[in-house]
């Protein structure tokens, strides 16, 4: 049974059980047809790291929340801490779990010591056992530049191109997998120790770069990502240290005192505000905390209440841009939505019922991580072609240019939809529900509303640029041309923003599932796909699996 089916087939009554602490890791283990020991070991080590971090965070938050909830003066709080020696005992617990974690991790690693080749394949357990030797497509120390290699292949004689292309594909898949594993490794290191120092991360980067033949450009991108991480992490740490009181932290961040209760959860690169009053959440959701913004109105609150959480890219404090995430505790609709997703989430990860907000946290944290791996938009502006085609009375050409332009405008939506797909599927939402939510015309995720209006206004001569266009082609008089342009726009709008977009979303979701079914962990799947444009996911997955199958043979 696949993980997806397992989730979808669960009857409602099982949700009650899901709220209880998970006693047995097998309950939450994901059944897979095939999983390599290497992948499983990575997953288990990561799970161990997460549990260590979870315990530490639960301890810190437990103390903070208890201290704040009773409303005693700091001196009395300190008295209680001293009498119960809670902090010291929690530190002991933290040391114990870390020690158990180190032992378990070392033991798991020891199962592979001396038994792996460069591709991480298990070779032998003891002497005399059969060895499996697979040479990596990129030799250690060799650099592989995908763009340059492809250019070289095109210049080869035709009869040599096919073989060269095969080798290229093998190397590309190998390198992509390596980069994804590197990214996953960085995230695991950061989770284990958010205060990790630059030299440690750089040492890992050099190791990975050598092993997977990363080009100078790829190394530069990775260095930038690490730098970005450290800047954000420092900013988050400094902010939290400066504002230990959650209410004051809210005011420092958004310029006004919160209306209701607010809790702040600090992550490695995130400030997660749990808002218990809809107005506070709406302020963050609408981003009306920015200087010269209007005040939050009823419409903002209504809009905000459609969501359970939000990740925003803006901030009044420069270095905190992209770190702020917020949870809507105030709205009943949002609460139901959150509780539902958290129940599914707890079924997968075995978290506690009283920690249902973690479902929202993981969804929104995904956006923050994504921002670190921001991708540049790929296609060029085609608008000039539209003018040129109309100048030549080439309606097919104009329609084509319009189609390309709409596709270009769709890209931003694809980037956002990719975020949402990764976040929803990671949370455990079903494929059909994810697709339905993202395709809803009146829903939160209608990314093309503004694009449609902009282009329509332009073609109808309603905005500044449109007026120029309208006059240039004398469309006030030339009714046939005007009708022809609008009819082409409607046709292309339907094709690009509805039909093609739906196909891209469906194919993206299918690709994600295909990787999961092939034995990749959830985090590995996300790491493999997060840097790729949504419409390329299928191709990427096909290449990876093709390479994997070859290795098996």
């Amino acid at each position: 049974m696949t993980e997806q089916n397992k989730i979808e087939k669960l009857p409602d009554e099982n949700f009650e059980d899901a709220e209880k602490p998970s006693g047995n890791p097998q309950e939450v283990a994901v059944e897979r047809a095939e999983i390599s020991p290497e992948t499983l070991a990575q997953e288990r080590i990561e799970a161990i790291d997460q549990e260590v971090a979870q315990l530490g965070q639960e301890g810190r938050r437990g103390i903070e929340s208890a201290s704040a909830s009773v409303g005693l003066e700091p001196a009395k709080v300190q008295q209680a801490q001293k009498e119960t020696a809670t902090k010291g005992k929690l530190e002991q617990i933290s040391e114990s779990v870390q020690s158990f974690a180190n032992d378990a991790t070392e033991k798991i690693k020891s199962f592979f010591q001396g038994k792996k080749d460069e591709r991480g394949q298990v070779q032998k357990e003891t002497e005399g056992r059969k060895e499996v030797e697979v040479a990596p497509p990129i030799k250690p120390g060799e650099q592989f530049f995908p763009e340059l290699e492809l250019k070289n292949i095109r210049s080869l004689p035709k009869n040599e191109q096919r073989q060269a292309l095969e080798t290229y594909k093998e190397k590309l898949a190998y390198q992509k997998e390596g980069i994804a594993m590197m990214q996953e490794g960085f995230i695991a290191t950061i989770r284990r120790n958010p205060d990790v120092l630059v030299p440690e991360l750089n040492a890992n980067l050099v190791k990975w770069a050598k092993e997977y033949g990363m080009s100078n450009d790829q190394i530069r991108v990775a260095v930038n990502i690490l730098q970005e991480y450290l800047t954000k992490h420092r900013a988050v740490r400094e902010f939290s240290a400066k504002h230990p009181n959650d209410q004051e932290a809210f005011e420092a961040c958004f310029g006004v005192r919160p209306h209701g209760k607010v809790e702040l959860v600090e992550g490695p690169i995130t400030l997660y505000f749990r808002c218990f009053d809809s107005k506070d959440y709406a302020l963050i959701h609408s981003q009306k905390f920015l200087p010269s913004s209007e005040t939050v109105d009823k419409k903002d609150i209504k809009n905000a209440n459609k969501s359970a959480g939000v990740s925003i890219g803006t901030s009044r404090i420069k270095n905190l841009k992209g770190t702020i995430i917020a949870e809507n505790q105030g709205s009943l609709d949002a609460k139901l939505d959150r509780v539902f997703s958290a129940k599914i989430f707890s079924l997968i990860l075995g978290t506690h019922g009283d920690e249902s907000w973690r479902g929202t946290l993981i969804h929104e944290e995904q956006h923050a991580i994504k921002r670190l791996f921001e991708e540049p938009l790929r296609r060029e502006e085609f608008f000039d072609n539209f003018w040129q085609s109309l100048n030549k009375n080439d309606m097919d050409g104009a329609e084509n240019a319009l189609k390309n332009y709409l596709r270009h405008r769709r890209e931003e939506g694809e980037v956002r939809a990719k975020d949402e797909i990764l976040a929803y599927l990671k949370e455990g939402v079903s494929d059909s529900a994810t697709l339905r939510t993202l395709m809803e015309k009146k829903g939160l995720y209608n990314y093309f509303k503004n694009s449609r209006k902009d282009i329509e206004d332009y073609l109808k001569g309603k905005n500044e640029m449109g007026k120029v266009f309208f006059q240039a082609f004398d469309l006030a008089k030339n009714k046939d041309l005007r009708k022809g342009i609008l009819s082409s726009f409607k046709k292309m709008d339907k094709q690009v923003f509805e039909e093609e977009y739906k196909d891209i979303l469906k194919s993206g979701i299918d690709s994600y599932r295909t990787l999961m079914r092939s034995g990749y962990s959830q985090d590995q799947t996300i790491a493999l796909l997060i840097n790729e444009p949504l419409d390329k996911w299928k191709k990427v997955v096909d290449r990876i699996l093709e390479q994997k199958n070859k290795d098996k043979k």
Partner: protein, 59 residues
């Protein structure tokens, strides 16, 4: 031993190791929850005392 059997054996070992860790984790988690709840109880006692003191002062 064939590659498949070898892999199966390693998978079992990894799972066993993880399960053992997870059990210890759950024990520690329970201990931690108990400590926090004792701490909260003590805070509440202090708060109650504070309230009682302020009421008796008013009287």
């Amino acid at each position: 031993m064939k590659k498949d059997e070898l892999q199966k054996e390693i998978i079992e070992k990894i799972n066993r190791e993880y399960e053992e860790f997870h059990k210890k984790f759950l024990d520690l988690q329970k201990k931690q929850q108990k400590l926090i709840s004792e701490y909260r109880k003590r805070l509440e006692e202090l708060k109650m005392k504070e309230l009682k003191d302020s009421v008796s002062k008013d009287l």
